[in-house]
Structures are given as C-alpha cells and as structure tokens.
Chain length 207, copies 3
C-alpha cells in the first residue's frame, strides 16, 4: 500500500466523519448519513481525478473507499450523542481531513507530472471541494468561505510548502508530511488562536 | 431502441417535468423553465457518465434528450396552472423519475462491467443527483435530504434488488423492472403512508 | 494566439472580477477572493471541457488562466472601495463576461465538430455555469435565475446567432463577434431597459 493510498483512505475516513456529523445536525436517517458522508469523503478527490482526466476515478477502481466512508457514517450515527459539541467536532475533524486531503491531492498531481501551479490547485481542490459540497448541499455556511478564518490559505500554504521541500531536495514522503504539517498547523492556529488574514472592509464609497 | 435508451428517455422526460414545476414556483420565464428542466433531466446521468469516464456523455452523442427536456418544459409552462398543487405534483413526478433513473444508472454500470458496489452507487447517482442539483440551484429544500422520508434509501434498495435478481438468474430487463418497482414502491409508500427509517435524534450531551 | 484563446482569457478575466466583487460582499480575505474569482472564472469552461471529454481541461494545460484570475482578484481587493455600487458593477461586468464566454464555448464546440444543438448548449454552459457556481457557493440569488430578467435567453440567442451567421457563410471570427454582440445587446437591454420575456404566473387552481 503506497503512501498515496494511505493518504486517500485517511482523508476519506475523516471527511466522512465530518459529513456524518453535518447529517446528524440535519437529523437525517442512516442512509442519509452514508450519502452525505460519501459525498463529503470522495467529492474533492473525484473532482481532482475528473479535472486531471485520470483513467478512472479513485473510488471507482476501488470501491473500498465508499465502504470506509459508510463505516464512518454508521459509527457517527451511533456515537454522535456522546459529543459535547458536534459543531466543534466538525471543525477539528475537518481540519484533520484537510491536512490529509491536501497532500493526497498534491501526490496525485505530482504522480501525473503536472506543473507547480496545477499541483497547488489540485491540493486545494482535493482539500476544499468535498467540504464545500457537504456544506452547500446541507445548507450550512461553507467552512471554506467563513469570514475571518484561514481555510483555503492553509491548503495553499501546505501545497506550496511541499513544492518548496521537493525543490530543496526532500524526498516525496517527507514533502507530503511537511505539507500535512503546515496545513494542519495553520488551520489549528486559526481555530485555536484566531489567526487570520485581513478581510476586505468596504471603505465609504467615492463621493 | 434498447431498453437502456427507453429508460434514459423516460427519466429525462419526467425529471424535466419536475424541473419545470420547480421553475414555475420560482416564476421564471420560458427559457428559465427549459434551463432548469434540462439541468434536472440530464444532471444525474451526466455525472454518472463523467465518473464512469464514458467516451461521450449520453446527451452529447444524442442531443434529442435535450429536445425532450425542452418539450416537457414548454408543456409545463402552458399547463402548470391546471394543477391543484404543484408541490404535490413535483413529489409524485419526482418519485416516478427516480424509479426510471435508478435502473437507467444500473443498466449503464452493468453495461460497462462495474463491480456490484459501483452498480449500486451509479443507480443512486443517476437517480438522486439531477434532483439535488435542481433543488440546490433553485434554493428549495433538497428532496434527497428531507427529514423523515425515504429517498436515497429507495434508490439503494432498488439497485440492490436488481443485483440480487441478476444473481438469482433473472434476465437483465426483468432485473431492471424489479429495480424500478422496488424503488417506486418504497418512495410511494414513504409519500403516501409516511414510511421512514429512524432519524438521528440528539441525546442530551455527556455531563 | 488564436481568437479562441483570446476569448477564453477575456472571459476568465472579467468573470474573475465578478467573483472577486461577490467575495468582497462576503468580506473574505485575499485568498478567499482568489478562490471565488478562480471558481467563477474557469467554472463554466471546465464543465464544458469535461462534458465534451477534451483531453485536458483548458486551464490545466495552461495554468496562466489561473494567474489571470488571481490578478483580477488582487486588483479588486485593492480597488473595490472605489466603486459606488458593487452590485451594479457585478451586474455589468457579468454581462461583459457572459458576452465573451458564450462565443468561447461556441468556438470550442465548433472546433470539435459538434452538432448545432450541442454548440448552443456549450455556449450556454460556458456562459452561465461559472456565475451560477459563484452565486450558489456564496449564497447570492443566482443571476442566471433572477425573475424578470433575460440571462440564459441572451446566451441562447447569441449562440444561435453564431450558427445562423455561419450557415449564411460568415467567417468563424465574424460569427463569434456576432454571437458576442447579440448576447451583450440583449443582456444590456434587459439591465438598462427592463427587457424580459413573460414569466410564469400561477393562474388560480382548477376548482
């Protein structure tokens, strides 16, 4: 099992947990949990594979991924009530999922010899699109676009860090590890300490 | 004309009716009716074809499908006022569309020799995604995710029934018929008699 | 640089401006501006390329497009406060973007020898889908579906005009110019003078 496959499985599992938690906030039934969990879990990677025109989407050639997402959904269905704050759990699990999905996207783009810009975009796409689909479909405010938090920025920084590490001669696995670390550190810092970039503030209009 | 083509046409036509009815609730003009009807009608099958990486999306190789969707939209534009309850019509037409779209998705997946899990997922995708896109774009509460109703469950059960029928030696057309029957029976039972699975209910949080 | 490439760049740049303006209404940070701008800018063309099953999506083979979108986003981040009405600016820039994106979609479909119906649909898809994704993701009322305005109609008329011009013997560049002119004239007329088609009005239900 290659590192790429491990990253894909981990991202699928953790994103599925966040999807199932969002489904619990919408009071869906068990099949609804599995549906939203699967959409969240494989959404970003599916868009990545379609845009890169890979021969088969990753979970079509290996449906075990959907089984993993379904297992995560079932686990959440029976245990979500044990959580003190489901929203807080969603935030932190989503941060973990982002931190494994971004290197998963980077790894696939590197494996297909894409230029640097596309590698970064595929990291962002794989990391952000599943959660965005989850939030749009379930009518939550998208985490990706929440004001005053770092989100896409974390994915951008993580993917860029991987490219820099590779350029400096680091091995591929080490670069992906650095990518995951930078992504998680920035997102966790934003959640825990309120790190952010300046948001656009409307100045008074021209007279 | 093969059974697969008949199923695709029927799903396109009935989903287009539901899309046009949603457009009428949003008070769009005739071109808006055709746009929403087409999106709903071919949305699920388009995602199916792209994920399965078929050579051409079904309606690109045969634009008649879009003509069928447009005809359904025009028909609704002139007749929707005859309905006593447009929302009730949307619910029941959507149930019919689901019951033809799921076997259409199953048939395509079988024709490309996918494993069982992917066959079921393609049935669900073809059945549910067009309506989901219609509801997200028109800002309706997605039928797919309505609390306390069976929807994805019907598609899942129908597609699974087709696989079981095939495994028991039924012919492909009979299996698809069983798929349509199971899907429609469950969805109709949910609409008419309130059949449902238990939804997730939040327990009080841990102290 | 062919006409097709010029159209794609122009559509990407102007759609990115609209995406960044919507991001400014949502008070995002600079990376959020670039994310929404890029999604808007390449969304329609990406769906077009995927549906037509082109070998590579246009911006994957040439990431400069994303650079153009990012530049537009940065420019808006620093200058949006100079506008008297950002919403009005979005409306008119979106009209310009529509008028270049529709011929861009038509040109690609013609280059791959699609039948007339698909050419028109690809014009509509390229023109409308980027803005639709922008509005759905940022939770704005989709311009595409705003009641009492021409939008999809403009794209439909523009693409049809290009086909008629070609059939009458016009050169490809002239036909695309006519397409852009018709699209912009209709959309501008709708914005400035309230041109519209009759919308669906519910009659009282049958007794």
């Amino acid at each position: 099992m290659t590192l790429l496959v491990v990253l894909d499985y981990a991202a699928v599992f953790v994103f599925a947990l966040t999807g199932a938690l969002v489904a619990s906030r919408a009071q869906l039934d068990i099949v609804g949990f599995i549906f939203v969990a699967s959409l969240t879990a494989v959404g970003g990677g599916t868009i990545r594979d379609i845009i890169l025109n890979r021969d088969t989407v990753f979970w079509v050639s290996n449906p075990t991924y959907i089984g993993v997402a379904a297992a995560a959904a079932v686990a959440v269905f029976w245990t979500a009530h044990l959580l003190e704050s489901r929203y807080r759990a969603i935030l932190w699990l989503d941060a973990c999922a982002l931190a494994v999905a971004v290197p998963a996207g980077v790894a696939v783009a590197l494996a297909t010899d894409q230029p640097g810009g596309i590698v970064v975009i595929m990291g962002i796409t794989t990391g952000c699109m599943g959660g965005l689909m989850r939030d749009v479909v379930c009518n939550e405010v998208p985490l990706v676009l929440k004001q005053g938090e770092l989100y896409v920025t974390c994915a951008l920084a993580g993917a860029t860090a991987a490219l820099i590490a590779l350029a400096l001669g680091a091995s591929a696995p080490l670069s992906l590890l650095i990518c995951a670390g930078v992504t998680f550190a920035l997102r966790a810092g934003s959640l825990a300490f309120g790190w952010k970039l300046g948001v656009y503030k409307a100045y008074p209009p021209r007279q």
